[in-house]
């Protein structure tokens, strides 16, 4: 049986296992969680292309080099590194190399009903909310999440009390600071009470030319009739590896809008898991991915309709230049109880570079009969007719292409509700196009 054959462990796997050995012995739920995650990693190792969920992103090959865990970052350097949304009307919390930098973080003067603490503090003080940490887990072993659970020591814990309406977006700015390759792990937890409303923005940035590895995971619990907007902006340095795991549990009649913008990192993987456990909720997972050079980005989405009457919408747009590679794997599962489900998933790719590659795998798995589900996937070059139309009106080729690309990704970006954040995203997309021209 092949299941009994253990492949050779790569140097990176050995180094990671060694790092997992260093987990301090302790008692209690958190220590148990860490040890059990470390055990699963030791058992399964890094995923490779024979593992269906990682078919297009072979981490065993990508993470060939073992890098040490990053040390603490200087305040001034962290401040200089956190450029995204600087000056915007947001509550900023800076997480540098996987640890919250208090001096740069807006942890005081919280609105009524809002609690923001660091994960380290929450652990030190034994906060009740920690019982929900690692409470959401995918049905199958996920190496990125297991490593995060085992190794992340800090992050942000956000609680919004029932009924609280938090207008100001909470911005978690993840930055990497350093001039040598290192690995960082951050774990965050967002709990939104019944009928509450909040916006959470997570950004990821770091220096160019350094092969650092960032691993961040965030769990979101959304209460009944609550409303949560999440925006993630990933513009990591061009040599970085970025692994993100985002999990949601959505209550009755709740609304969740998640948006992922990606234009950074050499290799990036975002795993999104949505568990719909309350009737009649509405969730949307949207994204825009702009890649060039030899960048590789994998978005893997798993939406699990467990209860009746929920609506899910997914729209992902990829723009692929040069020899970049985009991967979209989306799976909608509709369980037998989830009658009246309405699910629509769309993945569209615009291929600009001759050697760019797009791999689409939209999946439906349906066990209930009274449902409406569909998915679509397209990929192709810019429509020649549209280019001709614009050129005939005196617009140069490059500009015409830019206009069309803007319109293409604009459809996805427009789904972001918060004006300031949406403007920042449009700016990012424009900057990407300008760099191309």
């Amino acid at each position: 049986m092949s299941a009994d054959i253990r492949p050779m462990r790569t140097p990176a796997e050995q180094a990671l296992s060694a790092a997992l050995e260093q987990i301090p012995a302790g008692s209690g739920r958190l220590s148990d969680l860490r040890r059990s995650a470390a055990r699963s990693f030791n058992e399964h190792g890094l995923p490779h292309r024979r593992i269906e969920e990682w078919k297009y992103t072979d981490l065993r090959t990508i993470l060939r080099e073992a890098v040490p865990v990053a040390g603490p970052a200087g305040v001034a350097q962290a401040d200089a590194a956190a450029k995204l949304l600087a000056g915007a009307a947001v509550r900023r919390i800076v997480v540098a190399n996987g640890a919250v930098v208090r001096e740069l973080s807006d942890l005081d003067g919280l609105e009524e009903g809002l609690s923001v603490v660091t994960l380290a503090d929450a652990i030190a003080k034994g906060r009740d909310v920690l019982s929900r940490l690692a409470g959401l887990s995918p049905s199958r072993y996920d190496a990125a999440l297991a490593l995060n659970t085992a190794l992340a020591g800090d992050g942000v814990v956000i609680e919004v009390a029932a009924g609280a309406q938090i207008e100001r977006p909470i911005h978690i700015a993840h930055v990497f600071v350093g001039d040598a390759p290192a690995a960082s792990y951050a774990r965050s937890l967002v709990v939104v009470g019944d009928e509450a409303h909040a916006t959470v923005v997570e950004t990821f940035e770091g220096p160019a030319g350094i092969a650092y590895q960032a691993n961040a995971a965030t769990e979101h619990y959304v209460g009944d009739r609550a409303h949560l907007d999440v925006v993630r902006i990933q513009v990591q340095g061009d040599a970085a590896v970025n692994l993100s795991t985002v999990l949601f549990e959505v209550g009755r009649e709740a609304q969740v809008h998640d948006f992922v913008f990606t234009s950074g990192a050499a290799v990036a993987r975002t795993s999104l898991y949505g568990n719909l456990i309350g009737d009649d909720s509405h969730v949307a997972f949207n994204g825009a991915v702009l890649l060039k050079g030899r960048q590789h980005n994998d978005t893997t989405l798993f939406v699990d309709h467990q209860v009746p009457g929920c609506e899910s919408r997914e729209l992902f747009k990829h723009v692929l230049d040069d020899s970049s590679r985009g991967v979209f794997q989306g799976k909608i599962v509709v369980r037998q109880a989830a009658q009246k489900t309405d699910g629509r998933m769309m993945s569209r790719a615009l291929v600009l570079g001759d050697n760019a590659e797009m791999d689409n795998k939209p999946e439906l798995e349906i066990f209930a009969d009274d449902v409406q589900c569909g998915h679509g996937a397209t990929c192709g070059a810019i429509d020649e007719d549209l280019l001709f139309y614009l050129q005939a009106r005196g617009i140069p080729l490059k500009e015409a292409q830019s206009l069309l690309v803007q319109a293409f990704v604009g459809e996805a970006i427009e789904t972001v509700e918060h004006d300031g954040v949406r403007d920042a995203l449009i700016e990012q997309a424009e900057a990407w196009l300008k760099a191309r021209a």
């Binding site: 049986m1 092949s2 269906e52 037998q336 009658q339 790719a349 291929v351 600009l352 570079g353 001759d354 050697n355 760019a356 590659e357 797009m358 791999d359 689409n360 795998k361 939209p362 999946e363 439906l364 798995e365 349906i366 066990f367 209930a368 009969d369 009274d370 449902v371 409406q372 589900c373 569909g374 998915h375 679509g376 996937a377 397209t378 990929c379 192709g380 070059a381």
Partner: protein, 492 residues
């Protein structure tokens, strides 16, 4: 085809109880010893009087098969198959090979007549005159051997070779040697390798340059013996500018134990050639509790080897306990075209995991996939497909449409497409939907006096129309009936 009133009364009973072709022909047969060893392979090869090279080819496949493992990625579950508890060869006993139709055991002739396949050309023609249809040449495969091939002379006049593959090995060894295993290599997958080792019979078709085959060719597969696997191998070659349309039908007796069917079909289309391959698969699906039925593990692949060649697969899958098949096209020649039209219906405890692969290698190649899945009862129906464009496949185009219809709340419909584009000029479109028959449609039909069953049949027929239109006329009528029967009892 609206369902009749009696079926409304048996609303909860499932169609699989009504399998029409479940009878067994009691006929003395000759079998290889149970189990699979090198001896079995040698026995089959000797029975067929095969040349040395083919025996070596089989033995090579057998040795490789021993090192391989059964694939587990498909969304089907079944008890482990004991490959040593099967007969790999069963043939109706005959003194010598039948020289003419009159030498064939009358029991077998009667069997085919019961299945509606007249093997006497005289009868076949009579049938045609009364229905006004066109001529169809039939190769009838009974367990492991081909028992009759009709209209051979008439086809020979046109230069078309249509005969059992075991005869072709003797009469046209150079053609068989050149093409056998060139589309589905010996080591392609577990079941194809098994087939390569023990294949017993099947059809061989060669259409020479520029010839348009004067009639439809067809093969009718029948599994009769107990505990016997059927491993047929079909090889169809359309030389430059040739055209052939080929039909395939299958049935088996009703039995409590599962039976294995692992076929390999290879199609080769040279420049400007066209092959149209249609299947109506109605193997025994098991009883209403999911007991028995055929395990259908089939590897079908077509190679558009020449420029502007075309291969089109059409399938209506209503039978089998488990269907595991992915008729594929390798679009190697420039401007070649691949098509896949499929209706897969599952009821009772059937499991279907089927789809296609369109592999674009040549320039300006196009492909189209239309797959309709209908799940009822406790069944699972999966579409699994791959569309890929190689770096050099500039201008590749694909359109895919997969729709699933669910009837009842205990069944499942799944879609697993892989769409991989490696160059910027490729243009791929994929769309898939899953829904149930809408209340509005049912209401509209009921208002006009149709019963629930009639309305369902009408709507389902509309749902699968795109695919049915691709079938040759004789088959389309048959398929339409089959669809209604398969879904009888699923409403309510």
């Amino acid at each position: 085809m609206p369902a009749v009133q009696e079926t409304v009364e048996q609303v909860r009973s499932i169609d699989v109880d009504q399998y029409k072709y479940g009878f067994f022909t009691d006929i003395e047969s000759e079998k290889a010893a149970k189990g699979l060893t090198e001896e079995t392979v040698r026995f089959i090869s000797a029975k067929k009087g095969e040349p040395e090279w083919l025996l070596e080819w089989r033995l090579d496949a057998f040795r490789r098969w021993q090192t391989m493992q059964e694939p587990e990625w498909a969304r089907v579950s079944y008890p482990r198959i004991d490959y040593q508890d099967l007969y790999y060869y069963a043939a109706p006993k005959a003194k010598e090979g039948p020289k003419s139709i009159d030498d064939i055991d009358p029991e077998i002739l009667a069997t085919y007549e019961k299945l509606g396949i007249p093997l006497r050309e005289r009868d076949a023609l009579l049938g045609i005159e009364s229905t006004g249809g066109s001529k169809v040449a039939v190769d009838a495969v009974f367990d492991s051997v081909s028992v009759a091939t009709t209209f051979k002379e008439e086809l020979a006049k046109a230069g078309v070779i249509f005969m059992p593959i075991s005869e072709a090995v003797r009469e046209y060894p150079e053609l068989v040697k050149k093409y056998l295993g060139s589309v589905v290599p010996v080591t392609d997958n577990f079941f194809a390798t098994l087939n390569s080792a023990v294949f017993s019979d099947g059809s061989f078709v060669y259409v020479p340059k520029g010839v348009r085959c004067p009639m439809e060719l067809s093969t009718y597969f029948r599994i009769n013996e107990r505990n016997t696997g059927q491993f047929e191998r079909t090889l169809i070659i359309a030389d430059e500018g040739a055209y052939v349309s080929y039909l395939e039908g299958c049935t088996a007796p009703m039995r409590d134990e599962n039976q294995l069917h692992a076929a390999v079909v290879e199609l080769v289309a040279l420049a400007d050639a066209e092959i149209k391959y249609s299947t109506v698969q109605n193997w025994y699906p098991g009883d209403k509790d999911g007991k028995g039925g055929i395990f259908n593990f089939v590897t079908k692949r077509g190679d558009c080897r020449g420029d502007r060649s075309k291969i089109s697969w059409t399938q209506v899958e209503t039978g089998s306990a488990i269907t595991w098949k992915y008729p594929s096209c390798i679009l190697r020649g420039d401007e070649s075209r691949g098509e896949f039209y499929s209706i897969a219906i599952s009821n009772g405890y059937q499991q279907v995991d089927s789809g296609t692969k369109m592999i674009h290698l040549g320039r300006n190649t196009t492909s189209r996939i239309i797959a309709k899945g209908i799940a009822a009862g406790h069944s699972d129906n999966t579409y699994r497909g791959l569309v890929s464009a190689h770096r050099k496949a500039t201008g590749a185009r694909n359109f895919t449409n997969c729709d699933s219809l669910l009837i009842g709340d205990k069944c499942g419909a799944h879609t697993v497409p892989y769409i991989e584009s490696k160059n910027s000029s490729a243009q791929f479109e994929h769309e898939a939907t899953t829904s149930k028959i809408s209340e509005d449609q049912m209401f509209y039909c009921r208002q006009r006096g149709l019963s629930d069953e009639e309305a369902t049949a009408l709507i389902v027929n509309g749902f699968v129309k795109d695919v049915l239109q691709q079938l040759p006329m004789e088959f389309a009528v048959e398929a339409q009936k089959l669809i209604s029967v398969s879904l009888e009892g699923s409403v309510g």
